[in-house]
Symmetry: C2
Subunit: 404 residues, 2 copies
C-alpha cells in the first residue's frame, strides 16, 4: 500500500457526525420492529429548533452589498471585523488581544483547529490529547505525522473539576511533549476545567516550555451558575505559547456560515495565516460580516438560550438516570452529554447504526472520542425539547432489546 | 530553528495577492512624485466592476431559509447540489461524473487544490509543476513535504499551443514523478493547452502510471473563438488517476462565497472528503446553495462577460506593446496577462511595491509564479475598463522612471 493510502486509512470519517448516510449497514440485523417517532439527529445541534442569532442574515446581505472589499479580505480576515471581534473577545476572556497581531478569522472552529495544529506540529512531535476529547484532535495529530500521547480524564469520579490526570500530563511534558490540546468545556462530556486545573496546566506548560491550544467553543453556555476560567488570562505562561479557539457555530447556531477565530500568539497566528493562504485563502468574505452579531445578541437572548438548554439537559439526564446500567455525568456547559450504556451484546458502532435504523435516532459513538470509549455515545441536546425526550425514550427501548 | 518554524519560513505569503497591505515598504525610495489616479488592484478581479451572477444572493437567502438541512450537509456537500453540479459539469466537459462518487464541493478552488494535493502527496514524492504556474502549487508541494520538479513552458515562442516542454515532462515521469499538476488556461499567462498537448500529457501519464490534477478555473472564459480540450474527456488515462478542479470564483465573480468543486477519481474524492472533515468540515452550508446559479446564468450573460473582458485585454495589450522593452503574449482565456518588463534597476519585488506607493496600482510579482520570473508581473484585467487603462498608463510612466 502506498504511504498516502495508508495515511488515509487511519483518517476514517465514516462514523463522524453528519456522515451517517454514507455508512454501510448491510451487516445489521434488527431485533423487532422499527420504533416510530420524529427522527432526531443528536450528532449536531438542530438550528431549526435553536435558530441563528437574529439579524445574522441581514448582516450577511449587507456584507454582499459592500462588494469587493468584503469579498477579498486579507487572509486573516477583514480588518474592521477583526477590530470588533478582538475587542469583544478581550472583554469576554479578560485578556488583551491586538486585532492586527493576535487574531485570525477562520472557516469555522474546525478551520481554526486545523490551522493551529498545522502551524505547531512537525513530523514526529509528541502531542498530548485528552481522553475523551473531540474526535478531530487525534486525527489532526496523525495527519501531521505527530504522535498522540493520551491524558486520561476521570469525569465520573470527580464533581468539582473535570478530573484531568495532572500527573500524567506532567509525565507527558517530561517525556518530551511540547503541545497540549484540549477542549474546555470538554467535548463530549460537557465538564468544565476548574480554576485549579487551569492554573496547574499553565504552570506545568510554563515549567516545561510547552505550547497550549484551548478549544473554548462552548465557553459561553454555562449551566447552574458554573464559573469558567480562561487560560489565556492567567498570565502564567508566555502568551506566545498559547492559542485559544472559539466560534459562533454552536451556542449561536451559526454553523452554516462556517466562522471561527483563533487568538493569542502572534507568531503562531502569522503561520496560521500563511497556511490559510494555501488551504482556502480566507473564511468566506461575506460570511465574515456575520461576526458582527456575535457577542452582540439581543438583550436576554443568550440567557434564554442557556435556560432552554439546561431544561432539556435536565430532562434527558432524568430519563437516563432512571434506567439500570446507564451512567451519565451532568454536563456543566455546552450541549453535550456522554452517557455510558449498560452492557450490550453488540458493539457500540453497531448499536449506533441500530439506533438510526430502528429508532430514527442518530448519536455519535464513544470510540470517536478515544478508542477506549466502547461503552458510551455522545448526544448534542440542542434539539426540539419534546422530540429530544421522545428520542431518548426510543434509545432506552432499543437498549433493552440489545442488553446483554 | 525548529522544524516547523523552518517549514513556515519557506511558506511566504507576503507577496501573495491580497496581502500587500502587510508588506514592509520602509526600504523603498520613490523617484519623483506620486502619480494620481483611481487606485486599481490588479492582484484579483474587481467584483464591483464585474458583479456576481445575478440571483446569487437570492439563492443564498433561500439556502438560509431551508435551515438545518442546508447548514449541515455531508462533508462532500449537499446531495441535491452535487446532483445538479455533476450534471452541469458532465455536459460542460463531455465526461461522465457520478454525483455520489466523483464529486466534492470545496471552500473555493483553493480548497479543492489543497484537499487534492493533501490526498495525493506523501512525504518525499516528486511532483511536476509548470513554470510559470499558480503560486500556491509550489507551496502546496512543499507544505506536504514533496519535491517540486519544474517543467518549463515556452509561452513566448509558440502560438498554437502553450509551449509545455513535453520532453522534460517525460523525463520527469521517468525520474519517478507520479503527479503532474497544471492550470489550463495557464495562470499567469492565460495560454490554453492545445489538444495535442493535452493528448500527449494524457498518454505520458498513462504510460508512466502517473496521476494528474488539472485546475480549469478559467476554462469557460475563452477569447477569439479558441477551442478548449478537457483532459478528463480524453479517455486515454485511467479516470481514477485524474482530478479536475473548477469553481465560480473568477469569471462568475463568486469568490466572496468561497465555492469550488473537484471531480474525477472516486478514491481520491473519498480521501479529499476525509481530509475536508478535519480541515473545515464542509464548504459553508448556505453558500453551497449558490452553485445553483453556476452554468445557469441568464441568456447572453456569459457571452457579454467574455466580450467585455476581451475588449479590456485588447486595450491593455496595445498599451504595453507600444512601449519599448515590454513583451506580452495575448491571453487566450481567463483574465490574466503576464507582461515581461524592460530591464529595470530595481528588483521586481521592489518595483511592485513602487507601483503601489507611487501609482496606486497593485500587481503580482512574477517570482510568485516561479523563481526565474524576475522580469514579469501578473495583471488580472477583470476591472473597470477605463480605470484599468489609466492604471496601465501609470505603470508605463513608473517603468520609465526605473528603467536601466
Amino acid at each position: 500500500m502506498s504511504l498516502i493510502v495508508e495515511k488515509f486509512k487511519k483518517l476514517g470519517a465514516e462514523n463522524a457526525p453528519g456522515q451517517e448516510t454514507r455508512q454501510s449497514t448491510s451487516n445489521i440485523e434488527l431485533r423487532g420492529e422499527e420504533i416510530p417517532g420524529t427522527p432526531v439527529d443528536f450528532s449536531h445541534g438542530d438550528v431549526d429548533a435553536f435558530e441563528p442569532i437574529p439579524g445574522s442574515l441581514d448582516v450577511f446581505v449587507e456584507g454582499v452589498h459592500i462588494g469587493g472589499k468584503q469579498a477579498y479580505t486579507e487572509y486573516r480576515g477583514s480588518q474592521n471585523i477583526r477590530e470588533d471581534v478582538a475587542q469583544k473577545l478581550s472583554n469576554f476572556t479578560g485578556s488583551s488581544i491586538d486585532y492586527d497581531k493576535n487574531l485570525i478569522i477562520t472557516p469555522g472552529t474546525q478551520g481554526a483547529l486545523f490551522l493551529a495544529m498545522g502551524s505547531m506540529i512537525a513530523r514526529g512531535d509528541k502531542v498530548a490529547i485528552v481522553a475523551p476529547d473531540y474526535f478531530a484532535n487525534r486525527k489532526l495529530v496523525e495527519f501531521f505525522d505527530g504522535e498522540v500521547v493520551p491524558i486520561q480524564m476521570d469525569y465520573f469520579n470527580t464533581n468539582t473539576c473535570c478530573g484531568l490526570d495532572l500527573t500524567q500530563l506532567e509525565d507527558a511534558f517530561k517525556s518530551g511533549v511540547k503541545l497540549f490540546l484540549f477542549s474546555n468545556p470538554n467535548n463530549p462530556t460537557g465538564v468544565i476545567y476548574s480554576q485549579e486545573e487551569i492554573r496547574t496546566i499553565s504552570e506545568l506548560a510554563h515549567q516545561y516550555g510547552a505550547q497550549i491550544i484551548v478549544d473554548q467553543l462552548y465557553s459561553r453556555q454555562l449551566f447552574d451558575g458554573h464559573s469558567y476560567t480562561h487560560l489565556c488570562a492567567q498570565n502564567i505562561m508566555d502568551p506566545e505559547n498559547v492559542i485559544t479557539i472559539m466560534g459562533p457555530s454552536k451556542t449561536e447556531s451559526l454553523s452554516g456560515y462556517r466562522l471561527g477565530v483563533a487568538f493569542g500568539s502572534s507568531n503562531i497566528i502569522d503561520r496560521m495565516e500563511k497556511l490559510q493562504a494555501i488551504v482556502s485563502l480566507r473564511a468566506g468574505g461575506y460570511n465574515q460580516a456575520v461576526l458582527k452579531t456575535w457577542f452582540n445578541e439581543p438583550e436576554g437572548w443568550m440567557a434564554g438560550r442557556i435556560k432552554d438548554h439546561q431544561a432539556i439537559r435536565d430532562d434527558l439526564l432524568s430519563k437516563f438516570n432512571a434506567v439500570e446500567g446507564f451512567k451519565v455525568r451532568a454536563s456543566e456547559a455546552g450541549s453535550y452529554i456522554f452517557p455510558k450504556v449498560p452492557e450490550l451484546d453488540v458493539s457500540i458502532i453497531d448499536f449506533v447504526k441500530i439506533l438510526r435504523l430502528q429508532a430514527g435516532v442518530t448519536v455519535t459513538p464513544g470510540t470517536e472520542f478515544g478508542s477506549q470509549f466502547t461503552d458510551s455515545f455522545r448526544i448534542n441536546f440542542s434539539q426540539d425539547h419534546k422530540a429530544a425526550i421522545d428520542a431518548v425514550e426510543r434509545i432506552i427501548k432499543v437498549t433493552e432489546l440489545y442488553r446483554k
